[in-house]
Symmetry: C2
Subunit: 328 residues, 2 copies
C-alpha cells in the first residue's frame, strides 16, 4: 500500500507518518511506500523499510498535484493548509493554498482516474472553523457552516468539493473537522489558541506560562494522539455508512480552562499550577469568545471515532508521548 501525506512536515503530519511507519500497515494492509509532501522536505520516518519519497513542493501549483498523484497512492492524507491567522492576513495566499491547492489535488485524482480506474481514499482535514457564532450550546452535525474567517470558508468549500467528487465516483473521500489539538508539543507560539496548550505544557516542565483568558472559557480539545487516530480511522472505515454527508466533526472533550488547570493539579501538583500567570489579554479574549465551545459528536462516536474522556488523559498522553512517560 502506498500512502501520500500532504502536509507531512507539520506537527500532525509528522506524528501520523511516525505512527504509520511504526505500524508498518494501515487497516491490515502492509505499507510499501510513503510519499511525503510539504513546503519543506519532511524527514523520512525512523525504522521504515519501504520506499520513502519526500518532496518540498508548492501545492498551489496544479502540476505538483498531478505529480503527487501520478504514483497512484492508495490513501491520500491532505493535511496541508495556510492556518487561520495567515489566511486572514494574506487573502490571496489563503485562497491559493487552501482552496486552489485542494481543488488541484481533487482534479489531479480525477484526471488520473480518467486514464485508468483509480478511486483512492482521501482523508481531508477540515476544521471547526467552518462554524461561526452565534452557536447553540452544543453544535450538532446538522448545524450550518457560516465561517467568520477566510480559513473557515476555504475549509467549508473543501468539504463541499470532496463530497461532490466522491459522489461522482472520482475518489472515496471524507473530511474530518479536528478539535483544537492539546497539548501541542514544541514551543509556545503566537496563535490565539496557543495558551490552551501553553498553560499545561510549560508548567509540566517547570516553566511559566501565561493565561490570557478567564478560567470559565470553554473549548473543544483532543490530543495529538487522538488526531492521528481520527486520521487512521478515517482512512480505513467504511464510508458508505456516511451516505453523502462526508464532512464530520471529530469527537473531543469540552473543557473549561479551569477544568484544564484542575487536571494539571491532579497530574503534576500545586507547584505546576503556580507557574500559570494570569494576564488577561483583551484581544485574545475577544477572538476566543467567537469560537465554538462544545459539540454533539454523537455521529462521529457512532462511526467509531474515539477521543479522550478527561483532561487528565490528555495530559497523560503528552507525558507519555513527549516527556518519555515521566515528569521531570
Amino acid at each position: 500500500m502506498h500512502i501520500l501525506i500532504i502536509g507531512a512536515a507539520g506537527m500532525v503530519g509528522r506524528k501520523l507518518t511516525a505512527r504509520l511507519a511504526k505500524d508498518g500497515a494501515l487497516g491490515g494492509k502492509s505499507i510499501s511506500a510513503f510519499t511525503l509532501a510539504d513546503v519543506v522536505e519532511a524527514p523520512a520516518p525512523a525504522g521504515f523499510g519501504g520506499k520513502v519519497t519526500s518532496l518540498a513542493v508548492d501545492i498551489s501549483d496544479a502540476a505538483v498535484a498531478a505529480k503527487l498523484v501520478s504514483g497512484r497512492p492508495d490513501v491520500i492524507f491532505h493535511l496541508a493548509a495556510i492556518v487561520s491567522g495567515e489566511a486572514e492576513a494574506d487573502f490571496d495566499k489563503g485562497y491559493r493554498i487552501n482552496l486552489d491547492g485542494t481543488r488541484h489535488l481533487l482534479d489531479a485524482i480525477r484526471a488520473e482516474g480518467a486514464k485508468a480506474p483509480y478511486v483512492p481514499r482521501v482523508v481531508n482535514t477540515s476544521s471547526i472553523a467552518v462554524f461561526g457564532a452565534p452557536f447553540p450550546e452544543l453544535i450538532h452535525d446538522e448545524f450550518f457552516s457560516t465561517p467568520l474567517t477566510s480559513y473557515g470558508t476555504q475549509k467549508a468549500i473543501g468539504e463541499l468539493l470532496l463530497t461532490d467528487y466522491s459522489r461522482k465516483g472520482f475518489m472515496d473521500g471524507i473530511s474530518i473537522r479536528l478539535p483544537t489539538i492539546c497539548i501541542r508539543p514544541g514551543k509556545p507560539n503566537a496563535a490565539a489558541s496557543g495558551f490552551f496548550s501553553n498553560i499545561l505544557r510549560e508548567p509540566l516542565v517547570g516553566q511559566e506560562a501565561v493565561l490570557p483568558v478567564d478560567d470559565s472559557v470553554l473549548h473543544w480539545h483532543a490530543s495529538p494522539r487522538s488526531a492521528v487516530g481520527f486520521l487512521m480511522h478515517a482512512a480505513t472505515m467504511d464510508l458508505t455508512k456516511m451516505g453523502w454527508r462526508r464532512a464530520i466533526t471529530m469527537p473531543g472533550l469540552a473543557a473549561t480552562v479551569g477544568e484544564q488547570i484542575e487536571a494539571l493539579r491532579r497530574v503534576a501538583g500545586e507547584k505546576a499550577v503556580k507557574l500559570i500567570r494570569r494576564m488577561p489579554d483583551e484581544t485574545i479574549i475577544r477572538i476566543v469568545s467567537g469560537w465554538p465551545r462544545a459539540f454533539d459528536a454523537s455521529r462521529a462516536l457512532s462511526l467509531g471515532f474515539k477521543a479522550e474522556a478527561t483532561f487528565d488523559e490528555i495530559i497523560k498522553v503528552h507525558v507519555e508521548d513527549e516527556l518519555g512517560g515521566k515528569l521531570p
Copy 2:
C-alpha cells in the same frame, strides 16, 4: 445608478430587466444605465431612456468579469448558471461557469476596488439545491448544506465565497435561494421540475399536460413576479441586519400537486383540470423524492421578503403577467 445583470437573457433576468426599466429606479434612485450580460445578447428593455449595453459573453473567462465590472456598476445581479441537469451531465462545464464564473466576478470586483474604493451591492441567486435529503419536515435557516448535485455544490460554494468577500469589505453581498419558480412561462421543457408549471400553464390555455408524479408530492413555490421582488428587495435592503449570514432561503408556498390542481379548478374550472393526464414516470418520481419540500422561511419574512400565500394567487399572477389578465 448603473445596474449590471449577469444572466439577463434568462426568464428571471428578462423579467427583472423589464421591471427595473419600467420603474426607472431602484430603491428610490434613478437608473441611468444597464449592462446586460448573457451567453446571448439580451434584448434592450422597452421604454427605457437610459444607456443599455448588451453583451454576449462567456462568464467563465476572467477577462470578461473584469470587463463587466470595469464600468463600476452600483448593483450587480448574478443570475447566470448552468442548470442542475446540465451541471450534473457536464462536470467541467458546471464548475467552470457556476464556480469559476462566480469567483472571477468576485475577484474582478475586488480588483476594481483595489484601484479606487468600490463596494457594490451584489445579489447572487442561489438555490434550495444546496440542501440534500434526508430533510426535516421544515428546513430551517440553520440547516446544513449537503447538496446531492454538483449544481447544488457550486451554489453552496458561491454562497460561502460571497459571504467571505463581503466580510472582508470587497462588496456588499447577499445570496438568495429561490424556490421553484411556478408558473414558468413558455413551452414545456425537459427539466424534471417542469411538470409543476406544465400542469397549470398548459390547461389554462386549453392544452393537455402530463403529470408524472402523485398528487401528494409537496414542493416549494413562488411566482416569477415574486422572484423579481426578492431580487429587488435584496438589492436595496440593509444587509447589516443579516450579520455575516448572507445566504438565505426565500419565502415561498409549500403546496402539494393536489393543492395546485384544486387552485387550478377554482381559477379555471373543471374543464382545465380535465386536461391533466396522469402518467407516472418512475425516473421523475425518484428525482423529485430527493428534493426539499417545505421551509421555515421566517428569517426571510422578518427581513421583508414577500411571496404568495395561496396557489390561487400564483395562478392569478400568471394570468395577469402572461395572459393579459384573462383566460382565453
